[in-house]
Symmetry: C2
Subunit: 233 residues, 2 copies
């Protein structure tokens, strides 16, 4: 049925968004005497989106955006000693151990017996490599692809490079925008497994009819069963 | 003679180190009332090396290290408005157009007619992609490999993945530590083309005898000639 099964990593294999949310809350606390929490979070989001095109994804980009937000919201009055705390939030994030989602370890272990597996993830190169090496599941994956964005063109290029026909490719992830719709548009298959929180920039409203192209599961523990069913046709 | 010729990018294909040196000088100027230039540069270097293992290479890492250095050297007294200037230095670096070294364009154009070419570069994923897309030479390269470090193990893995025998592989670069010695250790070939400045962390003293394993050129314009000579054996 499939020549390759690929997985998004952040919030598909391991928890990620809560780390960002926690740092964001710490930033709001730090800036509480300058602005209310909603304002901090809104301004941080605007700064992140503005910077995305030249910083890209990941903790370092997020940190630079937190620092920029803190400076802007305080009209430059925030002292260095407070900015040092923001750098500390980042270092906590980087040091955090990788926490796998429930059912990931056994599901990946089972699928790896029958299919070549790949990770396709955005984010920072070193950061993602470190998370993978801490995850204990790295050896199940034949290929790790860390990309700067997940567009239809980037998936097409990646499949060509690996000599995989789109109709023999399955992508599994928690972002409709990044993991599901570009793969469906190429003629591939996709399984959408929502995570309980999604970064605002990744949220899109599914259009009527679009849902037909992909499968949706509640959790990754249901994936091996779905794939077996598909194989039986 | 070779099944693949790979090039380092920063300071081998395009100028890079001068951008960092310029930002470093701007930081020293900014902090002139707190510390002399040598102290700023020394402390920045120490901070960068300390952070390398978890930030990795690239402009964002460098920027976070500049901010951390500024905070430490001022005992946290530096105001946000000054740190904003440091973020500005980074944004200037990111916006800078890619400036190819002399002879790069014609050399790469000639070699691409006879050999598959690859780029193997450290640094930040998005940043390197942007520099390549601005360089006008991107189309000459069949593969772009952006890696978190350049060790013997990483080269070995990369050659296995591309099914290239080390003795049929040639690497060209400006860092003995990252581009030359690990490739020689694997049984590959390497051409060392020093750049006029090298980041302190990349500098190593060649040991007696080691020089035998690789070729050294003054500039990349001599590369096609060397490869032709090697082919005539």
């Amino acid at each position: 049925m499939f020549d390759l099964i690929a997985f998004d990593a952040d919030d598909t294999l391991w928890h990620n968004e809560p780390l960002y949310a926690k740092a964001q809350d710490k930033l709001a606390d730090l800036l509480a005497s300058y602005a209310d929490s909603d304002t901090v979070i809104q301004r941080l989001y605007e700064t992140e989106v503005k910077n995305l095109g030249y910083y890209g994804y990941g903790i370092k980009s997020f940190t630079l955006s937190m620092i920029e937000t803190a400076i802007k919201l305080t009209n430059g009055r925030i002292p260095g000693v407070e900015i040092e705390k923001i750098i500390g939030f980042a270092q906590d994030m980087l040091a955090h151990h990788t926490q796998l989602l429930e059912h990931v370890e056994e599901t990946i272990g089972v699928l790896a017996q029958s299919y070549p597996l790949m990770i396709i993830t955005k984010g920072d190169l070193l950061d993602q490599e470190v998370k993978l090496s801490r995850s204990r599941i790295g050896n199940y994956f034949q290929h790790i692809e860390i990309v700067s964005n997940k567009t239809e063109a980037i998936y097409a290029n990646l499949l060509t490079r690996h000599k995989i026909e789109p109709q023999r490719f399955l992508m599994v992830g928690n972002s409709l925008k990044s993991d599901i719709l570009p793969v469906i548009a190429l003629g591939g298959h996709a399984v959408y497994i929502p995570y309980h929180v999604t970064w605002a920039h990744e949220i899109i409203e599914p259009q009527p009819g679009e849902h037909n192209g992909y499968y949706e599961l509640e959790h990754i523990g249901q994936l091996a069963g779905l794939i077996e069913e598909l194989g039986r046709g």
